[in-house]
Amino acid sequence: MRFLLDAEQRAFADALHAMLTAADTPAVIRSWSRGDHARGRALWSRIAEAGVFGLAVPEEYGGLGPRPVELAVAFVELGRHAVPGPLAETVGAAVLLGDRAPAGRFLPGLAAGKETATVAAPTGYALDGDVASLRLLPAPDGLYLSTAAPGPVRRSLDPARRLTRLAPAGELLGTGAPYDRALTWIRLATAAQALGVGLALLDRTVTHVQQRTQFGVPIGSFQAVKHRLADAKTALEFARPLLFGAAVSLRPAEVAAAKLTACEAAYRTARTALHLHGAIGYTAEYDLSLWLTKARALRSAWGTPHECRDLVLTEGLQRG
């Protein structure tokens, strides 16, 4: 029992944070939203070089994995910088394919960032189907590689999330092996991303309320403002150990609990951030919006609150 990130893990987070800070992700996100993926692809390569996707890929296929704790560490940073693209889905693809025969054909490319993958969710929509080089379609009879062009892009409230329906059938990549393990990894990555989104929203809002004055004082000195931010901080800090506990156990119910809690904390923080920024937070041109809208979208992606609670109630959480 030593339920702490070690020095190496913290250094990994710091390095990613520094790299993403330098990458000016808001500009990358805005290009991506317009369908211009060049800067996003360049950033993708650097994230892969940092080893992020390799964490879900076994060593025999050019990865470093499976290392779910480090993956959670990395995805907190990706969320903190609102990095666009099918990030959790690429992790999911690595897990889905790792169980199957064509692992050797795809996994090295995923680990190296040469491939971007998306996976159709149970709704039928796949994130960034228009740009992913691998489009995976889980079906009752097996896992398909969707080879035809995907449907038209539908916009999410998060402008960086471009949803498409995948063309059915295509190439059958394998049968039988369960979808559940990949879903657990995608959920874990989504939970981590949501926590990072929430942390960024809190940071930005704390800075804002220290600077913004009304009635002659910084609005951060009003007790109502302070208490809303204290509640956001508390919610996020209690989501954090649930996330890492889930990464350690990889039990589906633990991951569902972490996903629900991190997403709710991020969404509550988004509501607080919007409210305390006032009208400026409500504009698309102010960067805060990139995190605000992502907090809403992640909340229902890959497991709604209701679905997550169901898993907790049916499978139970660990006691000790």
Binding site: P122, R154, F215, F222, V225, Y282, T283
Partner: protein, 379 residues
């Protein structure tokens, strides 16, 4: 204690319902916050106005039906229940018109109101400035006296509808020497296409230009477009008309209709248990808001003033609206994130509710200080 409408009011309701049945577009209009949608909504205003349904509470001579507060509530119930479009003329009708009725000249009313009623002239509000959000008395935009009028300069922000509107109204500092922030402000109307006006549309969360920044550089405003006495703008803006405004800013009919749609969505999904409480609570809250409004209207008709009570109203509807839309998106599950869904635009709009027209924190301060008599804090 009587919640029954008079036979005459029920006749009015029936007439409104019949007209709406016959005229409400079958397919929803494009979003009001797009150029195309703005034009479509303007056409709809004209259609309403042609049969005197656009401003029912105004005197007949300006295009209305002289409907009192109760009939206005009835009309709004029917309007939203019919699924009729959002009102592009809302800012002018709800904010500027009551001010003109109270403080305008007959010449101003005759000139301004009829084209407002038909949607020919759509009005934007120009209150906020970068340093004057909740603290509205910190306004810095100036009005400088010139021959036959004023030259206004400064930056106005969060001007709703201004991306596509025609004219705007707001407060400008005409006498900076008073030393008291609430004094020396003048209430003006101006043309958004006048020389010196630059309109920069600003996209809201979903990217749609729901408001604009107005850069004003010595824009000429003739004396005939000053409302009330120069320098008295604050009192005019905060005046008696604000009273009824608290009641009429958001009508109960909107929320009754939304709650009913939410219940229908829930039922269409097989009445899932996880949303049951929230759906029931939305129905109840919408009904509570409605009967609260009837009680308030009854008090107004009996000669009472609403005053700070309106602050409870603001907190209640804004939280109801958001809860209702959040529940709807939750019911939609993973598809709730889609931006073009029927509930998405309402959700984005609802998100602004707790912020605008005085943040809910300001409203709670008012309730605590003015209704409960608690000591003023450091604000």
């Amino acid at each position: 204690m009587d919640l029954t409408h008079s036979p005459a009011d029920e006749e009015f309701r029936a007439a409104a319902r019949a007209w709406l049945d016959a005229h409400v577009p079958r397919a929803p209009l494009p979003s009001l916050e797009t150029e195309e949608g703005f034009a479509a909504h303007r056409t709809w205003e004209a259609e309403l106005a042609a049969d005197r349904w656009s401003v029912v509470s105004w005197p007949e001579r300006y295009g209305g039906r002289d409907a009192g507060l109760l009939r206005w509530l009835v009309f709004e119930e029917e309007y939203w229940a019919a699924g009729a479009p959002g009102r592009v003329g809302q800012n002018g009708i709800a904010l500027l018109a009551p001010t003109l009725f109270a403080y305008g000249t007959e010449e101003q009313r005759a000139r301004v109101l009829p084209p407002m009623a038909t949607g020919e002239v759509v009005w934007a509000q120009a209150w906020s400035e970068p340093e004057a959000g909740s603290d509205l008395a910190a306004l810095a935009s100036r009005a400088v006296r010139t021959d036959g009028g004023w030259l206004i300069s400064g930056l106005k922000t969060w001007s709703s509808r201004a991306a596509f509107a025609d004219r705007a109204f707001g407060l400008f500092r005409s006498d900076p020497g008073t030393g008291r922030p609430h004094e020396g402000l003048t209430y003006l109307m101006f043309d958004l296409r006048a020389p010196g006006v630059t309109v920069r549309p600003v996209g809201r969360l979903d990217g749609r230009p729901a408001f604009a920044e107005l850069f004003l550089d010595e824009v000429f405003v003739p004396d005939e477009d000053v409302i009330g006495e120069p320098g008295q703008g604050w009192a005019i803006a905060m005046s008696a008309t604000a009273d009824e405004r608290g009641l009429t800013l958001r009508s109960p009919g909107r929320f009754l209709a939304s709650a009913a749609r939410l219940r229908d969505l829930w039922r269409a999904q097989g009445s899932p248990g996880h949303a049951r409480d929230r759906v029931a609570d939305a129905l109840i809250a919408a009904r509570a808001y409605q009967v609260f409004a009837y009680a308030a209207a009854s008090r107004v008709l009996a000669g009472a003033r609403l005053g700070p009570e309106s602050s409870m109203n603001k907190v209640f509807w804004s939280e109801l609206d958001l809860a209702l839309h959040e529940t709807a998106l939750d019911l939609l599950g993973a598809e709730g994130e889609l931006a073009d869904g029927a509930w998405s635009e309402g959700y984005v709009f609802a998100l602004a509710g707790p912020i605008y027209a005085g943040t809910n924190e300001i409203q709670r301060d008012i309730v605590a200080e003015r209704l409960l008599g608690l000591p003023k804090g450091r604000r």
